[in-house]
Subunit: 269 residues, 2 copies
């Protein structure tokens, strides 16, 4: 797995992802619940932000989580222990080459992972291999190209573009949300259903302005400042202006972003 430096593994990032998980939990997870005793794989669990949500929402499910990065796994184990779910096993593994038998899981869940991959279709085929026929695959991804705001300036669009370009330079695709449908079709899943999950913030929705606009999206863009400037994509003044313009929408303008959630079935043979 080629995870880029765009979303990192450091402590600040981990805090950001936790904020994001809380704010977005209802929007993204309200319709994901796994039955007691069902075997669930979370592929690419990172520091366990989504694992904790899954474990809380599906307390009887037997969840296994894998990630390629040992430091992420350590953080994830700690996070789950803190909510008394030390029973969730975390395994170090590449999502493209999983240490599980064919059809081992009733359900597979993967969230904010495919965007980082050079070959997302290959990983999806591997997830299909370990999924029971008729079992469910759930994929959640963002799409940074779905972002817009008001007032919207050229400088604001430019800093967001830096994030997209940096992810592309690492072989990822920050615009993957819009192509989940064809991707899952091509990977051979059945009954592919994709639905947009829209974030809309304006001053009548301060929890979204703070929780998403400021603490999730602007924080994520801000996280690539050094990479964007050092990489020659933008100069420091233009960067500061773009971030300031994004922040200026809060409390007076509007902020728009779309996530995509796909649910598909493992092929019945």
């Amino acid at each position: 797995m080629n995870r880029s430096y765009v979303h990192g593994y450091d402590t600040l990032e981990s805090g950001r992802l936790e904020d994001q998980a809380r704010t977005l939990e209802d929007l993204l997870h309200h319709d994901t619940r796994y039955p007691p005793e069902s075997r669930v794989l979370e592929a690419g669990c990172g520091t366990g932000a989504q694992t904790a949500i899954l474990a809380r929402r599906s307390p009887g499910a037997r969840i296994t989580a894998v990630d390629i990065a040992s430091d992420s796994l350590a953080a994830a184990r700690k996070r789950l222990a803190a909510i008394d779910r030390a029973d969730v096993p975390f395994l170090q593994a590449d999502c493209g080459c999983l240490p599980f038998a064919d059809h081992d899981f009733d359900h597979v869940f993967i969230c904010f992972v495919l965007e980082h991959l050079v070959a997302p279709e290959g990983v999806l085929r591997e997830l299909k291999r370990v999924l029971k026929p008729g079992g469910s695959l759930t994929v959640i991804e963002g799409d940074h190209g779905s972002f817009y705001c008001h007032p919207e300036t050229r400088a604001a669009r430019r800093v967001v573009r830096c994030l997209i370009d940096l992810q592309a330079a690492c072989g990822g695709d920050a615009l993957i949300g819009r192509r989940l449908y064809p991707l899952l079709q091509r990977a051979g899943f059945d009954d592919v259903r994709v639905a947009p999950r829209v974030v809309y913030a304006d001053p009548s929705r301060p929890a979204w302005e703070e929780g998403f606009s400021r603490n999730t999206f602007i924080a994520m863009v801000s996280g690539v400042e050094k990479a964007a400037i050092d990489g020659g994509l933008i100069d420091p003044d233009a960067w500061r202006q773009g971030i300031a313009d994004l922040e200026a929408t809060i409390g007076q303008g509007t902020f728009h972003y779309t996530f995509f959630k796909a649910v598909a079935r493992g092929p019945r043979k």
Copy 2:
């Protein structure tokens, strides 16, 4: 009212608007219902596509519709007569200067109108004048800047940009959806609540691919071909390529557009 040539009044346009009204009716109108005997004003009714929906969904409400264009009003009267609602009065009037007393209406409805106006805030203030204190204003608008698709080409984005630029050249704002919140706030309404209404089409949703992607959105973009080419915004080859690229998403890719619906209250004095 400065209505541009971007959306016209000819027969083809009228057919397109009817298709759009049907496809989008549930998405946009499912939560608009006026009580029997309430006085409802539709401002800028055009050829009556929305008026017919209001009349059907709120059969007991006393609807009055106004538009500045007499030929549109003639088409609207005909449309309502065809569904046995010839009782709906249609008046020729400028939405910025309405022939009604202060606080004359319990509810005001305006749909796909503000985008065409040079001074939408002034019209909103006039609507506020004729609305009872605490009465509801409902506004529905699109936002062409919310459009994206997959696969997305430069040529596809360019033809959509032509539509936006032509509307701007006429003094309108094809990106008005995103600024409904600040606009209604500034016009002095209370309890402003805006919600995105998202269109997402992929091959699993053929009704949306045909009803929206092809027959609404691509048809609307296609409607400005002559204006865009004659105006020197684009050459014929680039135009054809852009439209072909938009059409190529149907049946294999994805198509994304967001409408905005705002509901606000007339100020209680």
